[in-house]
Symmetry: C2
Subunit: 144 residues, 2 copies
């Protein structure tokens, strides 16, 4: 785990929320997941737009996304995954730091599979720190 806290845009992320780290990327559990297993993966460097990333950051980020998504799909009994980046405010981005939404999908989750994206924008109850830490603990095991 990092000693310096990871900044998600302007927000300090607790180590208890982080379950995967690579050289240039960090994966964290979500305060307000739209579905079980909805996690975020970000470059360490705080940059708002995808085009701000260097090619080696991009390679690390999306390689990490493959490693993480494979695990969360299985752990949350998914059969399919949604990957999305809201790149800029007009695309729905709320934290100005590139982040990939990774969401395990099931046949039964929504009647219209793409309803997921409308759900991303809806107001949702935040989870407790305890719930998030517990989930991160469970996921962290896979990457040790």
């Amino acid at each position: 785990m990092s000693v310096t806290p990871f900044m998600f845009g302007p927000w300090v992320i607790r180590n208890s929320e982080i379950f995967f780290e690579s050289a240039l990327s960090v994966a964290l559990v979500n305060l307000k997941p739209v579905l079980p297993g909805h996690v975020l993966i970000c470059p360490r460097r705080v940059v708002p737009r995808y085009y701000d990333l260097e090619d080696h950051e991009i390679a690390d980020l999306w390689k990490s996304a493959k490693i993480v998504s494979k695990v969360i799909e299985k752990h949350f009994n998914g059969d399919g995954l949604t990957f999305a980046i809201q790149d800029g405010k007009n695309a729905g981005q709320t934290v100005p730091h590139v982040h990939i939404h990774i969401i395990p999908r099931q046949k039964t989750d929504y009647e219209n599979t793409d309803q997921i994206y409308t759900e991303i924008e809806k107001e949702r109850e935040p989870r407790t720190l305890e719930t998030m830490a517990k989930e991160a603990d469970e996921l962290r095991v896979y990457f040790q």
Copy 2:
């Protein structure tokens, strides 16, 4: 341009629909874009799921996505971009070949920015081959 036709899943893609090629990836205009400038970028290799990709294919694909997205955002007067992969049928995937949707966004495109994803699933009128070829011709210029 390739001599062997590019296969998008089971579909043969005409060279006239392709506007960008890298060693391992191909970008094509869309038969049924949800918004102007909605393009697709795929690995050359026909694999259904993201986890099927090798790390060097992933690096090439997402580096290409950066190059292509920067151009289409500007060309279509976007301010923001949506990137999405529907990875598997339960995530809305219809062609079993990994593809990134890249969509330039504008402040005024939808009242709810994430309505875009519902639109992706709706039935839309296919465009003519001529319209598609013309758009690909316009975009191809940027990458020569």
